[in-house]
Symmetry: C2
Subunit: 690 residues, 2 copies
């Protein structure tokens, strides 16, 4: 008997690894597995001991390998050798994360940002002129959006592109230091041209941010006249990517170079656009960024899975302390704390994978023009804005916990946790700062919420809140069935059944978003007629709550994706285990915000206690399947390349166990002083008694 | 009017920076400031672009500078040039963290572990023979305790030291691979000798773990016969430290080399010790490790302070988005979310500093023999075991949040967040894994708790718990006054006053520890007579709760230290601001565990809401003092060496503001399309109406 007993019948369950893996990989599992295989190739990895210059040079060479092996063109049009396959492209791209994150991001800059901007913001003539060279890497490029002084607020970039009708040219100009483009991949060394985002000014009018193709370096790699820059140097990670700064001193480019799909300038300087509203036009141009966010979501969930494969495999072989026996030490995965640390995160990682797959489907819908309506595009934006923060933060948290769960071994480069974490750190703030994205989600929730109450008086919102507190609202907003089951008279079993009910789980999570948003909406409504500054102040007083609501929304989306997979799982045992895992995801999410649920009367004090205990029981129940649950991710040792997944730990344990076994058998092992003292004590006692 | 208005009278408060700095530095502020000044010296820093070999070589050279400048001998006896000053030594040592963490840790290995082991575990003859060379670095050494297969469970190390009476020698031996000593600083390259922890076996009896002085390399740096090892290679950080593995194949050392302060072997092999109990003997020998834990606590709180100085300074200069005005963008520190992100952590960091200072006082008491009673030594152990985890985790969390709060700039090496964080990562698992230490705390709390109930029947504990739930216990356990104030009839003001009451805060935090421990004690008591395996299983089922209780205990200790400082602060305004900061620490701690407090009836739902709102108000109130609160830490730019603390951001902001001001004044700024459309709309409306 070990320290974590579990019901014997549970042990009989058998996971179907194929069905499970397919579920984690989603619709584009072929693209995942194809690239995962390619990613085993050692020439796409990198030794840890490269200098900055070597790392950057190797990264560039690896980009050439990607294009030579035709691994990156899926998303481009067929006539350029691509497949017009947007979903498959992201799925494959995401698998580069375990080969070499710097390679992934430099490839992302070249083809996912620079190339995609030409593809999506440019028109036919631009595609003909540049795309072939972009795909073949003849033309390495830069995506020059962010400025030192304007990261997340792209609308306010200060770089200008002023049309000069006499010459039929735009003049690209950086008016001050804060307007320098910064943190740009390929900018320090390799980029020959840049897609520059700048305020388009013609005939004295600023038409907002547009994208321009601007050559920046000659064939020898020297800056062209008027272009300057700086190297960003070493970073916290991703040091294979040559990030840098660029600035422009009245640099002229032909009118042709305006990427004019959504806005154009005629020869005489007349501005035209199919999209009337400058706001919507800006939003549409920026929506090319969404591919990056989707890619980061899928990649981050894979990185979490890699980390957990390492830490759980290790915890299943490594032994430490001998609480329950004088002879054998326990597997560290048998400790409850270790289970909570790793299995809670395993549940979260499964949720991340499932929701990222759904996000990718939505992305494919929009970009393959299956449904690229404005409505769907906006939904995609909000979906990505909710999921990219969750998945990227979860990857950092998971990799860190995995590293700590492996102790000193976790810190060694040969086990990869630290380098992966360092590389992924920036995923939380690039392609949209996580907190800024969550605000976007929050604002969208507020808008949807006010639409629902449109036409009703301000008092309605206020009343809604009061009613919520009274729980009377349950009758009105779909929470009825939950309320009916409230009466469990303190029975643990009934409380447990209630919590396991899917409808209850959904309502708990959905209602939390709604209630939080309602309270903010009510505060905002009270100043709706006030000055801009007063409204801003009230919004700001609720900003923290808005972010919390957006996080809760992301949790709901993950729950929904997870539950969909549970329903679609055909194998009974696999479905049962996935249900436990989904329940663990739900309950540990609720446990982390229990204050809110009890404060707002959604969960009673009694149920709260049951829920806490239930989480601890769930991890013990899942513990025997932990190895299968990570093995089902299906990474090969060539993908993982961790020392601790190579089998060395098992060898060491076997060798040590055999040594002690032989020593005990030999009978000449030294006897411990503690044992002698115990015996002496007993002997003295016997003498006294006898 | 900005987006975070605060009462005008608050703005009149003036912090006394000297008093505040003194409070953060504690009793050994002189030692802090002395070393902080020394740490400005560029030859103690390191460029980011060193290869592994260069980094290690530079680190060794820097160690020589430390000894040449007489910066490391404070803790050693006066006759070796030291000052017998244990508190001052740790205070000074901790300031190396901002110079170069690798330097700090390599110095810690040489003088804090290797040297301290000889000093504290050895006797006069050992001091005479080795200490001078240890201090001068003539004898670079290794502290060989941890084994690959035994990290935290030192009691079970498998390396043996068997006494051979015929030769008057010990034979040091590594029986299998899991017993290799691992993760040892100085082991890969520079160490000439090691203090090896091994099971002392003489006359067929194992007397438990003892420390032995074992030469490992000759003058040329080659391993001596029978000694072998491996290089641990690259790590997630601290790459200036040459960590490695060692193993011993029947290596002989003279009997002299047993560090025999707490246990000795006579020439004929007879074992003697002043400490009868093998358990207590082991504990006493290990207690030399406590210096490392204290040092890491002080160092980590300084690292958090460095990070916050960077991020808050930046947030006070950088502007982004213009919510409240058409012209000016907001300081990012004016956003509520940013305040919650940084000021919550500022409060925690102040708490970490204050509690680390108290820990250092306790450490000094024991090591200066002011009070080195067993009781006090045990209290020190538990104190350190509670605070080292909190401070090291908080440093990682704070540095990460600071890096994210600075966006892309936070990721650049020149702003130092990422490298500091990478270096400090391992602080959470070395010198005692944080979770293992917290278990130690938990077990101690359980022991103290059962002592209190000793002699009472098992039922007492059970009854205690029931009574807790009934709140009747308030009458009994010092919670009476809290209970008397429970009736606030839903008044926000009364609820606020209640929360701000110091006695209430203390009881809330203290009672939480006690109640959690009581529930575990009750579960354990029910199996007190059962088998070892059954007891272990029940303990394991409560392990997560034990860890939570230990974390709560650490929070209580931090609160007590913080409050003591508040009481000792003489300047009224400074005390007021520190009180707000302490309240923010308390309330955000409670907010993070609100579920527990409401579930257990300690905080009503109404008060819970008030507390949440109060936190948001507190950060707005503290916001005007944020810069002064970090400036008071008193780091120079030579200590910080962050690009963002150099003033460049302010320059960029000023330049941009001036550009826009001039543009507005000139009247020839391009007009935005949005403005034109707005005007056209208004004109159309007027025409229609008029």
């Amino acid at each position: 008997m070990g320290i974590t007993p579990f019901p014997a019948d549970d042990e009989k369950l058998t996971i179907d690894p194929d069905e499970l893996q397919k579920a984690t990989l989603g619709r584009w599992s072929d693209a995942h597995l194809w690239m995962r295989k390619e990613a085993e190739s050692a020439d796409l990895h990198h030794p840890i001991d490269l200098t900055l210059a070597e790392h950057r040079a190797r990264n560039l060479e690896q980009l050439k390998l990607l294009t030579e092996r035709n691994l990156i063109s899926k998303a481009f049009p067929k006539r350029f050798g691509g497949e017009d396959d947007h979903g498959g492209n992201v799925a494959g791209f995401s698998e580069l994360v375990h080969a070499h994150p710097s390679l992934q991001i430099k490839a992302g800059v070249q083809w996912g940002l620079f190339g995609a901007a030409i593809l999506h913001l440019g028109t036919e003539k631009h595609h003909e002129k540049w795309l072939e060279d972009v795909i073949s890497l003849e033309l390495p490029g830069i995506y020059a959006m962010t400025e030192i002084g304007h990261g997340s607020d792209v609308d306010k970039v200060a770089t200008t592109a002023t049309y000069i009708p006499e010459d039929g040219e735009f003049e690209i100009h950086t008016p001050f230091k804060a307007a320098w483009k910064d943190y740009l991949g390929n900018a320090a060394l390799h980029g020959k041209a840049a897609v520059v985002f700048a305020q388009l000014i013609t005939k004295g009018v600023n038409h907002g941010v547009h994208a321009f193709f601007v050559p920046v370096r000659d064939e020898q790699g020297n800056f062209l006249p008027g272009v300057g820059g700086e190297d960003d140097g070493y970073k916290g990670g991703l040091n294979g990517v040559d990030n840098g700064r660029l600035h422009f001193d009245h640099v002229r480019i032909p009118r042709f170079n305006l990427l004019n799909r959504y806005g154009d300038v005629e020869e005489d300087g007349t501005y035209t656009s199919d999209i009337d509203s400058p706001g919507r036009r800006f939003f549409t141009m920026l929506s090319t960024l969404v591919q990056g966010r989707v890619s980061l979501s899928v990649s981050s969930s894979l990185a979490s899975a890699v980390g957990l494969t390492g830490a759980i495999t290790y915890a299943n072989q490594r032994r430490q302390f001998n609480a329950s026996s004088d002879i054998d030490e326990e597997f560290i995965l048998d400790y409850q704390l270790h289970q909570r640390r790793l299995l809670d995160r395993l549940a979260r990682t499964y949720a991340d994978m499932f929701v990222s797959n759904d996000l990718l489907e939505k992305f494919n819908e929009v970009f393959s023009a299956e449904d690229d309506s404005d409505q769907n595009r906006q939904e995609l934006e909000t979906f990505a804005a909710a999921i990219k923060p969750t998945t990227t933060w979860n990857a950092l948290d998971t990799l860190q916990e995995c590293r700590e769960a492996c102790g000193g071994a976790g810190f060694l480069a040969k086990n990869r946790f630290t380098q992966l974490r360092a590389d992924l750190d920036i995923y939380t703030t690039f392609e949209g700062d996580n907190n800024v994205l969550l605000q976007l989600v929050g604002r969208r929730l507020l808008t949807d919420y006010s639409k629902e109450f449109a036409g009703q008086s301000a008092g309605t919102v206020g009343r809604y809140l009061v009613e919520q507190a009274n729980e009377a609202v349950y009758q009105r907003s779909g929470l009825r069935r939950v309320a009916q089951q409230v009466v469990d008279l303190g029975s643990d079993i009934r409380a447990g059944e209630w919590l396991k009910n899917e409808e209850v789980q959904h309502e708990l999570l959905a209602d939390r978003v709604r209630t939080r948003i309602a309270s903010v909406a009510s505060a905002l409504r009270s100043v709706a007629k006030k000055s801009q500054a007063e409204q801003a102040a009230v919004y700001n007083q609720n900003q923290y709550e808005v972010i919390q609501a957006a996080k809760c929304h992301a949790e709901l989306l993950r729950w929904e994706s997870f539950t969909k997979v549970v329903h679609n799982t055909k194998d009974d045992d696999t479905r049962t285990i996935l249900t436990w895992l989904r329940n663990l995801f739900t309950f540990s999410a609720i446990e982390n915000d229990l204050g809110w649920f009890i404060e707002n009367g959604r969960i009673s004090q009694h149920r709260s206690r049951v829920l806490r205990e239930y989480n601890n029981r769930l991890v013990a129940r899942l513990r025997p399947y932990a190895q299968q649950l990570v093995d089902a991710f299906g990474f090969s040792q060539e993908n993982l390349r961790m020392d601790i997944t190579s089998g060395v730990e098992q060898q060491r344990q076997d060798e040590a166990a055999e040594y002690y076994r032989a020593q005990r058998a030999s009978g000449d092992a030294p006897i411990h002083e503690k044992v002698l003292r115990r015996r002496a004590k007993q002997a003295a006692k016997q003498q006294k008694n006898g």
